[in-house]
């Protein structure tokens, strides 16, 4: 009966939503993650879901994908209320999902990872060929027989996307899909997504990158603190106005640091070559550069070109074979470990915040001990000074506006953006002379990103040498004085950010030599 009624109204409006969400509430204990959310998604439509971290975007899409059960409200597909008990039910109704946190199996091959998400009835005997054909068709390079643990974040993302598209979904939910792709790969992805849209599929696109939303989406629903605060056409809005809607306040522009006169060379890398211990890793070849105090050097590059090996070499997780290959303030530290380099005044923030920069099950104050103990601030004669550790964590929480229950909160209970602010802030508050940070704002919302970038700029302003490894070109152009590109383990000659164009960087990322990129620029 209801169906008939619904069909009637649809006919009068002419166009029925493919998926319709009405009055959805999701509570976790006392916390209301989604508060009476309404959302309509039409076929042929790219619909953006934007909002800060913790605004309830992920909770909402998990309910759409059958991973969470709504506390109240209904989800309808083709006007018919449905109960999505599990992801299988969602998939069988045509909802596909590309996850933000990869849902991949490290010890299985690419083809096996894809097979697991396909319907049970699907014949898997020619899966290898299907994967290869698919990667040609959509320009997403995939090697079916590689095991996932050998792949970079960018390569893993491609599996996620391919896995979803191979299911032939009517609605594709994409949770921050471009965070690890290069501008070129993003463009390729958008061509793919445009194709999907033209085929009549709907897209629900979750992103912090408002430029992408404006490029791709016709409609946007904005969430703040679990509530819908607006529905608009993002093409008619400016990135600034969207951001203001999202955070309920305007985002400050990055203020340049006052100290423009470069100081002495604080961090020098001299003909550094390291053969990766991992057979699928990238070898670093003959890397030389130096960073002065007060300067930020940006390192751009496509995921999987040696960024993590480069970071490990700078931090001392993989020592070099020559002591003078890396020098901090004149001291040769090439064969030293991480703590010895920290004792020289260097600080490091790796890419993976859960498990590398922070121990997920440890409290924030224990996590403060992890990187500060080498300096003697929070530990003496092998004993932890818990009150000082708590104080150190509390200072980071306060100065960097980390939303956490306090120094005793477990790292894994923080949202990605808040934990990132904590692990970056932990190193910055030490007042380091050299800071190396890998992907400082990956998966972090606009407000938190701005705070982190400002902190990096301020740190350089106080005379430290800062090295930022990032795949986000906007970020590099926003804060860096010089930019170099890493490609297959080689680093291009750093060039002043104001003299290098995106095209130059794109050429270098694709493997052009510095010389040819120079001639291109002239």
């Amino acid at each position: 009966m209801n169906d008939d009624g619904a069909t009637g109204t649809e006919q009068t409006t002419g166009k029925a939503p493919l998926v319709s969400v009405r009055g959805i509430v999701k509570r976790f204990g006392d916390f209301v993650a989604n508060d009476h959310v309404d959302l309509d998604i039409y076929a042929h439509e790219a619909h953006a879901l934007i909002g800060e971290n913790g605004a309830g975007k992920s909770t909402l899409v998990k309910m759409l994908y059958g991973l969470l059960e709504p506390s109240e409200g209904t989800i309808s597909i083709d006007g018919e209320p449905v109960l999505l008990a599990n992801p299988d039910a969602a998939r069988s109704r045509g909802i596909g999902m590309v996850f933000q946190h990869f849902s991949l199996f490290d010890n299985l091959t690419v083809a096996e990872n894809i097979a697991l998400a396909l319907p049970k009835s699907r014949d898997l005997s020619d899966l290898r060929e299907q994967v290869l054909g698919f990667s040609r068709r959509y320009g997403l390079t995939l090697e079916p027989d590689r095991e996932v643990w050998t792949l970079s974040a960018g390569e893993r993302q491609r599996i996620e996307i391919a896995r979803c598209l191979l299911q032939d979904p009517r609605l594709v939910v994409l949770d921050e899909p471009t965070s690890v792709l290069t501008p070129r790969e993003v463009e390729t992805l958008f061509v793919t997504l445009d194709k999907l849209k033209a085929e009549g599929r709907a897209l629900l696109y979750i992103s912090h990158k408002l430029d992408e939303v404006k490029r791709l989406c016709e409609r946007a629903t904005i969430l703040r603190r679990g509530k819908v605060v607006g529905v608009c056409d993002p093409r008619a809005e400016s990135a600034r106005s969207l951001a203001a809607l999202m955070v309920g306040a305007s985002i400050a522009e990055i203020k340049p640091n006052g100290n423009r006169a470069p100081g002495p060379e604080r961090f020098i890398v001299d003909r550094l070559s390291i053969v990766s211990p991992d057979p699928h890793g990238v070898d670093l070849e003959d890397i030389s550069f130096s960073v002065r105090g007060g300067e930020i050097l940006g390192v751009a590059g496509v995921a999987g070109n040696g960024q993590s090996e480069f970071f490990d070499a700078l931090s001392g997780e993989t020592p070099a074979d020559r002591a003078d290959a890396i020098r901090i303030d004149g001291a040769s530290v090439g064969v030293d470990g991480v703590d010895a380099r920290r004792a020289r005044g260097a600080a490091f923030t790796p890419e993976e915040r859960n498990g590398h920069a922070a121990a997920p099950d440890f409290s924030l104050s224990d996590n403060a001990v992890l990187s500060l103990h080498a300096l003697g601030d929070v530990a003496r004669r092998g004993l932890i000074q818990f009150d000082r550790a708590r104080l150190a964590a509390a200072r980071v929480i306060e100065r960097f506006d980390v939303r956490a229950a306090g120094p005793q909160a477990a790292a894994r209970d923080l949202s990605g953006g808040n934990l990132q602010k904590f692990v970056v802030g932990r190193e910055i508050l030490r007042d380091p002379k050299v800071l190396v940070v890998n992907q400082p704002t990956w998966g972090v919302d606009a407000l938190a990103s701005a705070a982190i970038r400002q902190a990096l700029v301020d740190l350089a302003g106080s005379g430290a040498a800062v090295i930022v490894i990032s795949q986000d070109l906007d970020e590099l152009f926003e804060i860096c004085d010089r930019i170099a590109v890493i490609h297959e383990g080689r680093l291009s000659k750093p060039r002043a950010a104001r003299d290098i164009t995106r095209e130059d960087i794109g050429m270098l990322m694709a493997g052009a030599t510095a010389g040819s990129a120079d001639s291109h620029a002239h």
Binding site: P87, F99, L104, D106, E112, A115, L116
Partner: protein
């Protein structure tokens, strides 16, 4: 040593290896799904006592074997309830299962101590079993031996060639991802735990029905633990279980012969050689370990779904 003698020795190696193969392959499947059940020893010994009791009372080896399997399934369902249903620490649950099993088997087997029955009959195919030197080795084993080999082949095929096997491996690798894809994490883990229990029970029954055809308390003598070690030795790959079990069986038989020949080494030390061999093999293996030879990533981690 004559060739006939050699065939006899090799046959004892095979019989010593068989219970290890059966118990280890069951545990291997459970561990590939992410469940670490340290109760193998307990399930084995209950299988041995219940299996002997049933066979002795009914007069049928087959009924004895089925009873052993059933006993293993019942005990492993208790483990599944604790470790999977209630997400209690798997190491603690498994250890207590072993302690429970050892006590329970002594209680249930008490009336049967000192009783004897015929060992399980061996295959006898006219002509084939009579082939000199290899006839009895290949065609004259008891049915458990053939069942063990078939079990390994079936498990290899299941894990590597079927979709259900792929699902099971995926769940053992990352239960959060598996859950996000809608794979039934807990159901698969319960089933693989029950399969492990069935295998352990059958392995125990083999000991009291074929290996030494009587029941005595504590007769598994640590074989459940050896089976657990074999799974690691085998890098969670089915056919390597057979290899490891034969090595261990070989060491067991060799030390028996060495004791019989009284070569001047204390018997206790010789009895310990198979266990020492296990430790040495594990050490050598871990030195040369590559990452993808490592354990299922989610092994031993309890899984709790949020809805």
């Amino acid at each position: 040593m004559s060739a006939d003698m050699l065939e006899l020795v090799l046959m004892t190696v095979v019989t010593a290896a068989t219970p290890l193969i059966i118990a280890a392959i069951g545990e291997l499947v459970a561990e590939r799904s992410g469940v670490l059940n340290l109760g193998v020893e307990g399930m084995m010994i209950v299988g041995a006592s219940v299996g002997f009791a049933a066979a002795f009372s009914s007069g049928s080896t087959l009924i004895g074997a089925l009873a052993g399997i059933a006993a293993g399934v019942v005990l492993s369902s208790l483990f599944a309830l604790l470790a999977i249903g209630l997400a209690i620490n798997q190491v603690a649950s498994g250890l207590s299962l072993t302690i429970l099993g050892v006590g329970l088997s002594g209680l249930m087997g008490a009336p049967f101590v000192g009783q004897k029955r015929e060992a399980a009959s061996r295959l006898a195919i006219p002509y084939l079993s009579d082939i000199p030197y290899v006839g009895r080795l290949v065609f004259g084993e008891d049915m458990f031996v053939y069942a063990a080999i078939a079990l390994v082949a079936a498990c290899w095929w299941f894990l590597n060639r079927t979709r259900a096997g792929l699902t099971l491996r995926a769940i053992g690798d990352n239960h959060h991802s598996a859950h996000a894809l809608g794979l039934p994490v807990r159901r698969v883990r319960v089933l693989s735990t029950l399969f492990g229990g069935a295998c352990a029970g059958l392995a125990g029954a083999y000991l009291s029905l074929a290996y030494t055809p009587f029941w005595s308390p504590g007769m598994t003598a640590g074989r459940g633990w050896i089976a657990l070690a074999l799974v690691v030795f085998a890098s969670w790959k089915p056919w390597r279980v057979v290899l490891g079990a034969l090595l261990f069986g070989g060491a067991t038989v060799l030390q028996l012969h060495a004791q019989a020949a009284s070569i001047g080494v204390p018997g206790q030390l010789l009895s310990a050689t198979p266990y020492l061999a296990t430790i040495v093999a594990l050490m050598i293996l871990s030195i040369g370990a590559r990452r993808n030879a490592a354990a299922p990533a989610a092994l031993g981690q309890p899984f709790v779904a949020t809805r």
